[in-house]
Symmetry: C2
Subunit: 400 residues, 2 copies
């Protein structure tokens, strides 16, 4: 053997043009075209998709089971029909890939090269994980639940299933769902058919697809997708901090017409109404202590009031959006989402004169955190919430 494909790839941040492997990923994984920001609920097929390995082929949900193993008081195997006996919830949730914006960073970590489109908002149908756990109590000593998908492949020198964990404290705080439908239809194969996790207010990696196993463990999970990636890291040697809640972010629908080759937008002189969306995870953590007693019988805490006020993530934690023309910002009108975890709508008028310009937008959350003008820098390109910039050329003569 002259090739060991599982030797950890000697990847390092890169500059300039994109490799063939990056483009292969970009062709497989699909971003939401930004004109879809017009839709409150992203239409099926336009929601972003990041698939780590191959999409599993599942013919029918009838034989699918979710196993509860490890430190449960009793192991169990639940069919989807059994899960559907718990109270059914419909939750509008904005999801974003933790790597969204990676392609806008310099240097750039060589991975899926998202610009802005790795986001989407769907209406998910399923049950609360905590409702299921009431019937299936954990054994003493349990610290975390590990959520395993059936998808499997290699990354960083390890063959593994896609697996992520949440601590009991996080499960107590977050309104984690087990879902089987998206926008009123059974999950599509690529969105996790027939069962997936949704972790509202967190970046998308936590919402494990093709979920077939929950394992209760008494230690911090050390799986590849938990400790080797989805970490905020300064450099190659930094073990980093886990990627969790969404940072505040806003996006605009680029105005005017697109030029295919340059991706520049063409607009006519005059006043334009620019619209977009904004979201974040602000308020998610504030609810710590509100839980249902899963963890050490915790009752309501001070954080709860702040959590209610902020709306627990989604668009309600956004208190301000500004639209910039060549770096000169003014306030947009923000319409909060009707849904706890959905993005908010915003709009602003801007008068554009002939010439080349840059539009940008930035959100501020309820804690006063403002999107940065430039990426704050992360070794693996995680959580880049720097402002979107849109190059426009205003020239009335080019419109027939």
């Amino acid at each position: 053997m002259t090739i060991n494909p599982l030797a950890p790839a000697s990847k390092q941040p890169t500059l300039g043009d994109y490799s063939d492997a990056e483009v292969q990923l970009a062709n497989r994984n699909s971003g939401m075209p930004l004109e879809f920001l017009q839709h409150d609920i992203t239409p099926v097929g336009a929601h972003y998709l990041l698939t780590h390995f191959d999409v599993p082929y599942v013919n029918s949900p009838d034989n699918w089971t979710l196993s509860l193993s490890g430190l449960f008081q009793q192991h169990a195997t639940l069919s989807i029909a059994a899960l559907q006996h718990y109270p059914v919830h419909h939750e509008v949730v904005t999801l974003e890939c933790a790597g969204n914006g990676r392609a806008c960073m310099t240097p750039r970590w060589p991975s899926q090269p998202w610009h802005y489109g790795a986001v989407g908002t769907a209406r998910w149908t399923g049950v609360r994980l905590t409702d299921v756990l009431k019937d299936h109590p954990l054994a003493g000593g349990c610290e975390e639940l590990v959520f395993s998908g059936v998808d499997r492949g290699a990354d960083g020198g390890q063959v593994h299933h896609f697996e992520r964990s949440l601590t009991l404290q996080q499960i107590d705080t977050l309104e984690v769902m087990l879902v089987w439908a998206m926008n009123g239809q059974p999950l599509l194969p690529q969105h996790g058919f027939p069962l997936r996790l949704i972790v509202p207010g967190w970046y998308g990696m936590a919402s494990v697809k093709w979920l077939d196993c929950i394992t209760a463990i008494d230690h911090a999970f050390q799986g590849y997708q938990q400790v080797r990636t989805y970490r905020y890291r300064r450099d190659a040697d930094d073990p980093g901090q886990p990627v969790t809640t969404l940072k505040p972010k806003s996006l605009m629908q680029p105005p005017g017409l697109v030029d295919w080759s340059t991706r520049v937008r063409l607009v006519q002189p005059g006043t334009h109404r620019i619209t977009g969306r904004a979201w974040g995870g602000c308020g998610i953590d504030a609810d710590a202590g509100q839980g249902q007693g899963l963890v050490r019988g915790s009752g309501k805490g001070l954080g709860n009031e702040l959590g209610n006020e902020l709306g627990k993530g989604g668009g309600r934690g956004i208190q301000r959006v500004e639209l910039g023309l060549n770096g000169d910002y003014h306030d947009a009108t923000v319409t909060p989402s009707e849904h706890r975890y959905g993005w908010s709508h915003w709009s602003a008028d801007v008068t554009i004169s002939e010439g080349a310009h840059v539009l940008s937008c930035r959100a501020t959350d309820a804690h006063g955190i403002v999107q940065p003008d430039v990426p704050t820098g992360d070794y693996n390109g995680m959580g880049n919430n720097s402002v979107q910039t849109v190059r426009i050329v205003c020239d009335g003569s080019v419109f027939p």
Copy 2:
């Protein structure tokens, strides 16, 4: 004005890594992940998508109209409800982007950088264009119909709607459909909601989305998407030949597990069953003369028998598929599609030993045309049907 975005871009074939504009296109336009070759009908949201400009926002189909203008005996405006009074057909059609494979070419035309995934098979529901034309006869002198979408943008120095034409002879021969549903559901916004054209057996550019106007003209249409692109060209000065029917092509579902970073496939030693699909436009042209009298009262011609024999495109025009291991090919078993315009299934066993290998597959159509080993070269990267190659590493020790 120091910038004229509509000056024809000084694009030329390029080598090596990919530009930011190419990656922006790859993020917007989505390929079908190749594991979806398992599905006879590509699930919604996994079918390839190439959107020239922005996806139009259409709230409801109720007010949508299709106007018939130009050299019709009477101009008309048809609602979708009116179209639905004609006989409704459900047709399974394999569509492929004419630029599929462009990223595998050296040099490479800088545009949407597809590798293999710009293909999909859907069940389309609609009516035959020829049925509509019987009620809305053309005036004398008409030579072509121009199909216009509402999508608009700039390319090659021109602001234009996406528009394509077909000659009356082509309309008489091809089973062109006006469709409002895909896989049993209303068209998704990104697939042309609420109305689009489907031209079975041709590359995808002919199947105009967001169709709102058909104009009958007495000359050869000179629109940008007809004469400036979607041409087979040798060099920048070659006016080229129009891209029309699908060339024979086969794809395999890559076996084993994927390594995220390198995109290499990992397999265990032993015998593997490889499966895939094959399709082409063979037989489409053979039907010339079979038409319904739209053109000069033409009746059945000799071509008709060949057309029936070959199945008029799709998978039935494929007579052979071979699977290659390091360039050594052997025959696969081909199962013809049940549908005239759908892809055929194929499978072949291959024994793989430890080491690095390349798998490939190639189809031969009923005319004896074989997929080339290497791209035949086209200036704009159109119609590359050279064989798919999949790099695999066989190492039993890496599987836990």
